[in-house]
């Protein structure tokens, strides 16, 4: 039934899903290259799980098609698709032991040498001694590995992972992220991973699609998404961003100059939305860790050519590797600044007047006609 030699990309064409009057996924085109680790990232209810379930065949798309390589599988039921899923709750069969759980797919397809393959798979996930235990006798992390083994043993063309690490504690989650990445590199199967954890998506995936409200907001490599967000949602959901309302005053020579809070800021034109003209409203963004702080008294020491904004430290919190400051400024009420704890700066205490400065090429411009707070605080755990 499965054809492991014929690989191919996963292609979603105009796929959408509506439940009554609610649209879970708006018509969506997406191509997942063969052999890649692809993440669908978004808050709960953004349509990422529905998209995954449509690839698995557990959900029928309202419109559009799902193709694996050259083959249109839209009409195929889940048990006829060369695709396997690792479910969020693992969905291990409670009445079967670990060996039989992993063997389930092979047995249904009438594959020979089940025993040998299961033993190999148990070794791969380091659970050789647990073959005859029941799922409830295993810890969360072990169950998670069984779920992965049960799917992988079928050598699917695509492995779908639906928040597989959501139920694990932080330390174990980090460990499993590396483990999954290792397995993916080893077996070379296309992984499509759904998660609400932006760090998880960035750590593991080659390509991340950020979803919001049933649409893909932006798609790209993690670093590209982080450094060059194209919407406020991506800017705020992936890490955090300082967004400053501004107006363009000069757009010549590959550089855009804007006024914000009484000062001037510069940013490369190719990091701005297209069609920016003098007078355009913009949201100018910069990541908190790109900003340096200098006490106002030493403002002269700031290198020329850097973007500068003045402000007053409203709060600071020491978190070991860095110190996080919240700075009040005419440009923005609460600008966040993360400063590495390399050297102790005596003048940087709440109430101090400071200059915030950063390199223009770390600045990005966004269309002002969108919600400045989109994606903020939407990274909390979902059950």
């Amino acid at each position: 039934m499965t054809d492991t030699t014929a690989g191919g990309d996963v292609r979603l064409a105009g796929i959408s899903k509506t439940y009554g009057s609610f649209t879970a996924v708006h018509p969506l085109d997406l191509t997942v290259p063969q052999g890649s680790f692809f993440a669908l990232l978004g808050a709960s209810g953004c349509g990422k799980t529905t998209t995954l379930r449509m690839i698995a065949g557990l959900e029928d798309p309202t419109t559009g098609t799902v193709s694996l390589g050259e083959r249109d599988v839209t009409a195929l039921p889940p048990h006829k698709r060369p695709v396997n899923t690792v479910f969020q709750s693992y969905a291990l069969f409670p009445h079967l032991d670990i060996h039989e759980n992993i063997a389930f797919g092979l047995r249904r397809r009438g594959v020979a040498s089940v025993k040998k393959q299961v033993a190999e798979m148990l070794d791969l996930v380091q659970l050789g001694d647990f073959a005859h235990r029941k799922p409830h006798q295993l810890s969360g992390g072990q169950q998670q590995r069984v779920a992965v083994a049960r799917a992988l043993i079928n050598h699917p063309q695509v492995l779908l992972l639906d928040e597989p690490l959501g139920a694990l504690d932080l330390k174990l989650r980090r460990q499993m992220q590396l483990e999954l990445k290792r397995i993916q590199t080893e077996v070379g199967i296309t992984f499509v991973h759904v998660t609400h954890d932006q760090e998880e998506a960035m750590t593991m995936a080659d390509t991340v699609a950020v979803m919001n409200g049933g649409r893909v907001e932006q798609l790209g490599a993690p670093a590209e998404l982080y450094e060059r967000p194209r919407t406020t949602f991506v800017a705020n959901f992936l890490g955090s961003s300082n967004l400053i309302e501004a107006e363009a005053v000069d757009t010549g020579s590959g550089e855009v100059v804007v006024t914000a809070g009484g000062g001037k800021l510069r940013l490369p034109a190719d990091r701005c939305p297209e069609g920016v003209r003098t007078g355009s409203r913009l949201l100018v963004g910069v990541r908190p860790e790109k900003i340096a702080l200098t006490p106002a008294a030493e403002a002269d020491s700031v290198a020329p050519g850097r973007n500068t904004v003045t402000g007053r430290i409203a709060a600071s919190s020491f978190i070991g590797v860095s110190t996080q400051y919240v700075v009040e400024s005419p440009a923005g009420k609460a600008l966040e600044v993360y400063v590495q704890n390399v050297e102790h700066r005596a003048g940087l205490v709440p109430g101090a007047e400071v200059v915030l400065h950063w390199s223009p090429e770390h600045t990005f411009g966004l269309d002002a006609a969108q919600d400045i707070a989109a994606g903020v605080e939407s990274v909390e755990e979902t059950p």
Partner: protein, 265 residues
């Protein structure tokens, strides 16, 4: 005093157990009695007569066989129908689902004697011959509710993702049901079936109304109690009790063994 405090729960438990088991002990003891008259109500002397000749009373074993037969068929019918209803009610959204959900409780809530009389009215108006089939129909009907309740509780606690996982792992609709749905729902279905069997086997009121001239075991006991109680009734009662206890103990032992064998070696 401190001893009492520490063992209060155990003591209360033992007393309750005694309360439950004494009637059965009485039945057991009197199955070895050799009554002087026709009534087995006072202890005379020890005898195994009734045990060596359990079918010695006219018509009793016939009524017992009939009761077992009806209980068996009613259990099968009620379990199959009830399990299907339970799955439908939990898994699917359809019109009148809420109504059916509450109507299912009706046979449990309605006084049995009222239901018995209504059923009789129905059968008489339809011109149905009273007997084996009317008893079976009535038993299946009232057992159904209990099966639905037992299976529903189990199905509700089942993760629908288990079936999705099975479908995802190349099991077609039939394989999914056979390999995953049914085994996981089995404890609920078994509980419902056992309940149905017990209810059908000892039902008297509804049977009495709808049996015509057919005599089931509870009706036989009732009838003979008017004229004298043969010791064999105690023998049958004791045998049923022992079989039930053995079934439960065996079930426990099997599940204990499974637990143990699953532990790490």
């Amino acid at each position: 005093m401190r001893w009492l405090k520490r063992n209060l729960v155990v003591l209360a438990g033992l007393l309750t157990l005694g309360y439950l088991i004494v009637p059965n002990i009485v039945v057991l003891v009197f199955s070895f009695n050799k009554p002087a008259g026709r009534f087995n109500y006072s202890w005379q002397e020890f005898s195994t007569d009734a045990w060596t000749d359990p079918c010695g009373v006219a018509d009793m074993c016939g009524s017992l066989a009939l009761s077992l037969q009806i209980a068996l068929w009613a259990t099968i019918g009620a379990t199959v129908l009830g399990a299907m209803i339970a799955f439908a009610l939990v898994r699917y959204r359809f019109r009148a689902r809420g109504t059916i959900n509450s109507l299912i409780f009706l046979p449990m809530a309605m006084p049995e004697v009222v239901m018995a009389a209504s059923l009789l009215t129905l059968f008489l108006n339809l011109g149905v011959q009273l007997g084996f089939w009317t008893i079976l129909i009535a038993h299946t009907m009232f057992c159904l509710s209990f099966v639905v309740v037992a299976v529903k509780a189990r199905v509700m606690s089942m993760d629908p993702r288990l079936e999705e996982a099975a479908r995802d792992l190349y099991a077609g609709p039939f394989q999914t049901f056979w390999r995953v749905t049914l085994p996981i729902a089995a404890p609920g279905i078994a509980a419902g079936a056992m309940l149905a069997f017990a209810l059908s086997f000892d039902d008297f009121i509804i049977t009495n109304f709808n049996s015509g001239s057919t005599v089931t075991f509870p009706m036989f006991v009732w009838g003979s109690a008017q004229r004298g109680t043969p010791v064999q009734i105690n023998v049958i009662g004791t045998a049923m009790f022992v079989i039930a206890v053995l079934v439960v103990v065996a079930g426990q032992a099997i599940s204990n063994r499974r637990q143990k064998s699953a532990l790490p070696k």
